[in-house]
């Protein structure tokens, strides 16, 4: 912990405020460039293809019988997965009072919220009749129609709804003192804006006390919630009868995968933020070190569940399982993807065992991107090697995503990035008050 202390203690209070507020008020040409690229990219890769798809029909995708689920669902699961680590990690680290969490948790939580939003767009893009998007919500209507609460998709509606709400609240509660701090430093419309957001925060003892309570509640609440959300997402697949999907191990498998990919996502994001906002003094090698250790653990867990899945499938030795596994592991082109996934997720992360690698920013970036690529492939393979090998061999057919799907997939990343770019501009991206706490003045706090 002493090492940790060193990391940030030589920063003054004012410096913290200045750094964060500068990032919000002073807008350089670079920001506008990035924003413009994001908006144009979003329109080209996301908006237009989607409009085209709505106008012409789902037929412009590569979906077909029996692969009725394709890249959109892959992206959905992927983004839900990414969303996992942010809030979950933040909440766990908060409860365990881990100090190094402080400089990263805000952006991690934002990442959670934005990736849930991205995932939700995927659901609507996936719909055959997206103009009826509100039908899956249970609302009173003259038709006396109700939604089907038996459906795993309905579980999803609630799980994701709850999750996005509570992760937003978690993010928001934690930000209130900072929003107030920003309010006090800015002028013009910003003052009104942050004034409204800060909910009249004045920093009284009572307010701090209440905030602490609410925040702790959220943190405690969000841990089981996060586990349940990805379990429920896994049930979309596991509650079907399809070989390769109907697996009891899917819920933990998905949760582990989600935390894994989310942690890797945080590392990637940290590297980028650190460079882009020049926050090297807040995000230090300590963070990479700790998260690297976490990734090793997650990688081993991931490998374990994968081995279990393949082994039990192979051991059961039914035609259904055999064909699905064979298709996934030994049939081109999915075999290339499969073994790439294994390399990215099971082998490269083990390099983190070496401290040198953990502390190397470049290696961290590469490995974390690799993990996310691998995790995307994992979701893709789960769906796209099971559905083409359903029960009746006469209907087997390979899936080839169309350009629309690829484009929207790329667009989903741009969508996420855009949200994040806006976040960095409009929201204090680091916890000002907690970093101040971390600086250690005026007194040593317990729980280190």
């Amino acid at each position: 912990m002493a090492h940790q202390q060193q990391g940030t203690s030589n920063i003054s209070y004012r410096e913290v405020n200045d750094d964060v507020i500068k990032s919000m008020t002073e807008t350089g040409r670079g920001f506008y460039l990035v924003l413009a690229v994001c908006i144009v990219g979003l329109a080209l890769t996301f908006g237009l293809p989607w409009a085209y798809q709505i106008y012409v029909g789902q037929g412009v995708t590569g979906l077909q019988s029996p692969e009725y689920w394709g890249l959109y669902l892959t992206n959905f699961v992927f983004w839900i997965g990414i969303s996992h680590s942010g809030t979950l990690l933040s909440a766990i680290l908060f409860i365990t009072q881990t100090p190094w969490r402080r400089s990263i948790y805000r952006s991690a939580e934002a990442m959670t919220f934005f990736s849930v939003v991205t995932a939700a767009t995927m659901v609507f893009i996936h719909m055959g009749r997206p103009w009826n998007f509100y039908w899956p919500f249970p609302y009173p209507n003259q038709r006396e129609m109700w939604t089907n609460f038996q459906s795993p998709l309905m579980f999803d509606v609630f799980a994701i709804g709850t999750y996005s709400t509570s992760s937003f609240l978690f993010l928001y509660f934690g930000s209130i003192p900072d929003l107030a701090a920003v309010r006090d430093r800015v002028t013009g419309w910003r003052k009104r804006f942050y004034g409204a957001l800060a909910l009249g925060w004045r920093g009284t003892d009572r307010e701090w006390h209440l905030l602490q309570k609410a925040y702790t509640f959220c943190a405690v609440f969000i841990i089981p919630l996060a586990v349940s959300v990805h379990s429920i997402v896994s049930w979309d697949f596991a509650s079907s009868k399809i070989p390769g999907l109907n697996k009891t191990i899917f819920a933990p498998y998905f949760v582990i995968g989600a935390i894994y990919s989310g942690t890797a996502g945080i590392i990637t994001l940290m590297v980028i933020l650190r460079r882009a906002l020049k926050f090297e003094k807040y995000i230090t090698k300590v963070h990479f070190d700790k998260l690297g250790m976490l990734l090793v653990v997650m990688s081993l867990l991931w490998t374990y569940v994968n081995v279990t899945e393949v082994f039990t499938g192979w051991y059961a030795n039914t035609s259904y399982e055999n064909e699905a596994l064979k298709y996934r592991m030994f049939t081109t082109p999915s075999a290339y993807l499969f073994w790439l996934m294994i390399a990215c997720n099971a082998f490269f992360p083990l390099l983190y065992i070496f401290r040198k690698i953990r502390l190397s920013i470049v290696a961290s970036l590469l490995i974390s991107i690799g993990i996310n690529l691998g995790m995307w492939i994992e979701r893709f393979l789960i769906i796209e090697t099971s559905l083409p090998r359903k029960f009746l061999p006469f209907m087997w057919r390979d899936y080839h995503p169309s350009w629309v799907e690829w484009s929207i997939t790329a667009g989903s990343f741009i969508f996420f990035t855009s949200l994040f770019v806006l976040f960095v501009k409009f929201w204090p991206s680091f916890s000002i008050y907690e970093i101040k706490e971390d600086i250690g003045i005026p007194m040593e706090r317990k729980g280190r």
């Binding site: 209507n141 003259q142 038709r143 006396e144 129609m145």
Partner: protein, 186 residues
Amino acid sequence: MKKFLVYVIVGVVTFTIGYNVNLIYFPDLSPKQPINFSHKIHAGDNSIPCQYCHIYADKSTVSGVPNVQRCIGCHKIIKQDAPEIQKLQGYWDRKETIPWVKVYNLPDFVYFSHKRHVKAGVPCQRCHGDVAKMDRITRQAVLFGIPYARVSPLKMGWCLDCHTNGAKEFIGMQVKNGRDCWTCHK
């Protein structure tokens, strides 16, 4: 400049809203017909039963628009010189049919059988309103000259109401499987 932009945006948005509100909430509820046919005179004043002219109502899914021959059958004798009857005569002489405008329109995905409802004893007025008081067929209910509601909403919930509770009035029980989607959908 900035203000002007605001006006443009507000204008465009409200324009779109106005346009769509009209299309969605203000359908033409009492369209003008090619001949000023009055149900009031026929069904009201002269109390001609509905099925005298809508001959298929108890035989088929559709009630049947009266064929021109049936109109002319009576009007060969009755009120030949009235201007509207002259129009009718004109259609008959030209061997043209009359392009009546549809007032009650169900979407393509709805199966509705006039026969079943007529045989169950549902009076026509239940859905079509008091036609005998209407000069021009309308779906707009009017009180003291002020339109206040629709004669019948023709919405799914409205159908279901009758299929569950309202039906007791006619057949003494709920409609059998009346809430099954494929009772009315196709």
